[in-house]
């Protein structure tokens, strides 16, 4: 814990709505406690803006503990800021130095249209889940939870992939705005478990088809997604999905 405070200059993307063209706006912010989170620094900035008669900066956030995936912000070109395995809400100001200039942009991508300032519409991710990111089991039809043993390794790998918070940082970080890491995390999570393996071919075909329909880019294996992922989802999942997609394409009727 420290009592240090710093002064920063922020260059923030402002855009009134989806249809208008945006621009950068510069705001100096003074006396930022280094114990603040990046979002609390935005709260403070907005307080000053409102007091000065301006319109505050719209930004998404909710749980502020790194699990809901609502917060976004591309900070100096890095989705969720400079640290690995960290969501913007968990980024603290002690990470920055006095006098820094920070450029803040939304999670840009064609499939994530900007709604206002730093808020984007990420419902394309939901539509990909709706296309196949589930196990087709109706309520009430389940057998006993222990009826089907799952090797611990599979279960752990599934959990690694299931840790995805659906924030879209992978898409923002990717020069191609590809959603492969997101989709592959779901394909892996469910495909690795015996419960989800039943429909894994159908799942991967449908989810990839929807992904293409949403106009996400394709993967060129740069690894930007993995580096930006706040939950350390691995590119291994993408390879797994590629294999699965290939074999599903071969065997589908």
């Amino acid at each position: 814990m420290s009592d240090k405070s710093i002064n920063l200059t922020l260059k923030i993307w402002r855009q009134k709505n989806a249809n208008e063209i945006g621009h950068f706006e510069t705001h100096p912010v003074k006396d930022i406690s280094t114990d603040m989170s990046f979002l609390e620094m935005f709260d403070l900035l907005n307080l000053h803006i409102i007091k000065a008669g301006g319109v505050p900066i719209a930004f998404d956030s909710d749980c502020r503990e790194g699990i809901c995936g609502m917060c976004s912000m591309t900070i100096n070109g890095n989705p969720h800021g400079p640290d690995r395995e960290t969501a913007t809400c968990q980024l603290h100001m002690r990470r920055f130095s006095d006098g820094d200039t920070i450029v803040v942009e939304p999670f840009r991508a064609k499939a994530f249209p900007v709604l206002k300032d730093l808020c984007t519409d990420r419902s394309s991710l939901d539509r990909m889940i709706a296309a196949g990111g589930f196990v087709s089991v109706n309520t009430g039809s389940a057998q006993d939870g222990n009826a089907l043993p799952v090797p611990k390794q599979d279960s752990d790998l599934a959990m690694d992939a299931a840790a995805c918070i659906g924030c879209g940082a992978c898409v923002a970080a990717c020069k191609n705005a590809s959603a492969m890491l997101f989709v592959s995390a779901k394909v892996s999570h469910l495909g690795l478990l015996p419960q989800g393996a039943v429909e894994k071919e159908r799942r991967v075909l449908n989810m990839v088809a929807q992904m293409d329909k949403e106009k996400f880019g394709s993967c060129t294996n740069t690894g930007a997604c993995e580096a930006a992922c706040p939950k350390a989802i691995k590119m291994e999942n993408i390879a797994r999905m590629n294999r699965g997609f290939f074999s599903a394409s071969l065997t589908r009727r």
Partner: protein
């Protein structure tokens, strides 16, 4: 006077739900699609209900305030979910889970509901496993369990420190499957602004499209609120920023009774407050208390760093006061003891408003690797926030508002006093009485959504002939006009204070007077101060921007305006309940060793408040709690 018919079925406790399921009317499969249901909220309760109802064939419209239904705050639950599977062979049973929950709730919950909850708990685990929830497993491939506060058996299923996330994703995926199939119509970034009743029955809602600002009407045959708790009335809580009480509050004003509003849970293990602009508190899973030992220095005004304080100068107060439960004492008890220690000047850290949670012994016993495996992500989170390494320095923790046991009153069918308005999950008052046990919130949310509402809503729908209406009905027109007028009014004030500033003021009032311990003078003060603050709000609030656009200040303002009314009701309830029970601690009612003193003779009831109109005092109704099975006893964890 509200008509509080709890509709508890007859017969022995063990057979009530079975009997009731048989007695309820069924909707013919072909007719289900003729009924439409609105579900507000997509947390565990809302998502599971939406999915289950759509699977049955109902026409479902689901609303979420977020950009995606997966963001609902159930996602943040860390520790686990209880079920009476007894996979660990340590003596668990449905009855024991039922008993622990009633006792944990300090005997202020309805027996029949809690029994049903314990009964369906096992099906929840089965359902979640089938959906692909990656619960922790051992090398044999079977499910692993851990222990949790308030219980002496290991019955908690978990998925690392992200159980809530995994359960929610399971429910969300089930729901999105139905969205894909076209049986659910999903409305995201919509906030419910009002409930619409026609001929006394809930027939729809008014929403604001948070992107365009448009005020919209949605009509259905029944409405389900699964909108979570109202802990954010305290400003600082472990709740997410968007958590609010608006939906339940609007329902209350339309005639739904509000049950036990003062029952709030203060969670013992949160990261302490560190600055004025702190926006929320972060919870550290209670599971940490499995291996961490809670202590404070014995000496008042201790200045040595923790490592230099020798064993004999440490007070492991939970182990001392509650030898049999020790660090696993229930939440309310643990929180209160932390408060006592800090009030006595033995708190630690800069603010002196914290206690230590020490893993030194556990690391010595199990090795760092084991601790890392169990709590790695929590330790990492702690370090990120505080810049201290908990493997070396004990964590500092302090209680924070976490959950609200109070909520809209519902009967055994989860229907409120407004016909057709059903309330699920944290939004209802139901199953946790005056205190919720750890790992039970997830259980209740999913029980309500997967296994209760799909049965009970059919009974309501066939049992009531509802007129065919659409959004042009005058009730909808009036409610829309009212919502628009309120938005306009908020925007037109153009005062000097921001919504957050007002909210912080309310939060401080609530924390000081309606917080962890309450007394008559404080509550009376709150009842004077809150209305004053509310007047200030309506005269001096400043909301920039316009109504017909994405306007986050406007969103927050509407919620805080409702909190300013809800907070007052909480104070009313806390004032009238002169006993101490569970999370509600009245300083006037305590034993010699500062334990809560319950008053079963006068308060063995759910206090259900009824809205009587603007500026009028709310009226108290009582649902007497009848304990057929459980003998009311003093809750002791010693």
């Amino acid at each position: 006077m509200l008509k509080l018919d709890s509709k508890i079925p007859g017969g022995p406790l063990e057979q009530k739900w079975e009997t009731h399921k048989f007695q309820m009317k069924l909707v013919n499969p072909a007719n289900k699609r003729k009924y439409s249901v609105i579900v507000v909220g997509t947390g565990l309760a809302g998502a599971s209900a939406s999915a289950s109802l759509a699977e049955l064939g109902y026409e479902v419209k689901t609303f979420t305030i977020h950009d995606s239904p997966r963001r609902a705050h159930s996602i943040a639950a860390q520790g686990g979910i209880n079920a009476a599977k007894n996979y660990t062979n340590d003596g668990d049973s449905v009855y024991r889970l039922f008993y622990d929950t009633i006792k944990g709730g300090d005997f202020r919950a309805r027996e029949a509901n809690v029994y049903r909850l314990a009964e369906v708990s096992n099906s929840i685990i089965d359902q979640c496993v089938a959906q692909g929830v990656p619960f922790a497993r051992d090398y044999g491939g079977l499910l692993d369990n851990r222990s949790f506060g308030g219980s002496q058996v290991s019955r908690t299923f978990y998925a690392r420190g992200q159980t809530g996330q995994q359960l929610l994703i399971g429910a969300y995926q089930a729901m999105m499957r139905q969205v894909g199939l076209g049986t659910i119509k999903l409305f995201n970034r919509r906030e419910m602004l009002d409930l619409v009743t026609v001929d006394g029955a809930a027939r729809g809602i008014i929403t604001r499209n948070l992107v365009t600002g448009a005020i919209e009407s949605h009509v259905a045959d029944a409405v389900i609120l699964a909108t979570g708790g109202y802990g954010n009335v305290f400003f600082l809580s472990t709740n997410a920023k968007a958590c609010n009480g608006t939906a339940v509050w609007k329902a209350y004003k339309k005639g739904a009774g509000f049950g036990n509003p003062c029952f709030t849970q203060i969670h013992p293990t949160c990261i302490p407050v560190s600055g004025h602009y702190q926006s929320k508190l972060t919870l550290m899973s209670e599971s940490l208390r499995n291996d961490g030992r809670v202590w404070v220095p014995k000496k008042v005004g201790e200045t040595r760093p923790p490592a230099e304080i020798p064993e004999e100068d440490r007070d492991y107060y939970l182990e001392r006061v509650y030898p049999s439960f020790g660090n696993l004492a229930p939440r309310d008890v643990s929180s209160r003891q932390a408060k006592f220690a800090c009030d006595a000047g033995r708190g630690v850290g800069q603010s002196k408003m914290a206690v230590y949670l020490d893993f030194k012994d556990a690391i010595k016993r199990l090795g760092k690797a084991k601790i890392e495996e169990r709590y790695g992500n929590l330790f990492q989170m702690y370090e990120k926030i505080t810049d201290e390494n908990p493997y070396e320095v004990p964590m500092r923790i302090f209680p924070a508002v976490h959950y609200t046991m109070g909520g809209l009153w519902v009967d055994y069918n989860l229907m409120s006093t407004v016909p057709g308005l059903h309330v699920l999950g944290e939004a209802n008052f139901s199953d946790h009485g005056a205190n919720r046990l750890g790992a039970s919130a997830l259980m209740q949310g999913l029980a309500d959504g997967y296994f209760v509402i799909p049965y009970t809503i059919g009974d309501y729908l066939v049992g009531n002939k509802l007129p065919k209406i659409d959004a042009s009905h005058e009730a909808f027109r009036a409610a829309e006009a009212e919502a628009k007028a309120r938005t306009q009014k908020l925007l037109s004030i153009k005062g000097s204070q921001t919504v957050d500033e007002m909210h912080m003021k309310l939060g401080k009032l609530m924390w000081d007077h309606v917080g962890m311990s309450r007394n008559e003078a404080g509550l009376k003060k709150a009842l004077i101060e809150i209305p004053k603050l509310r007047d200030q709000f309506w005269q001096d609030i400043r909301i920039p921007g316009e109504g017909m656009e994405l306007n986050q200040e406007l969103e927050k303002a509407g919620r805080v305006a409702d909190f300013l009314e809800l907070g007052e009701l909480m104070a009313h309830d806390a004032l009238h309940r002169t006993e101490s029970c569970g999370g509600h601690f009245r300083e006037e009612s305590q034993t010699e060793d500062n334990e809560a003193k319950r008053d079963d003779e006068n308060f063995a009831y759910a206090g259900v408040w009824e809205y009587k109109g603007q500026g009028k005092a709310p009226e108290l109704n009582k649902e007497q709690l009848v304990f057929e099975r459980i003998h009311l006893a003093t809750r002791s964890y010693k």
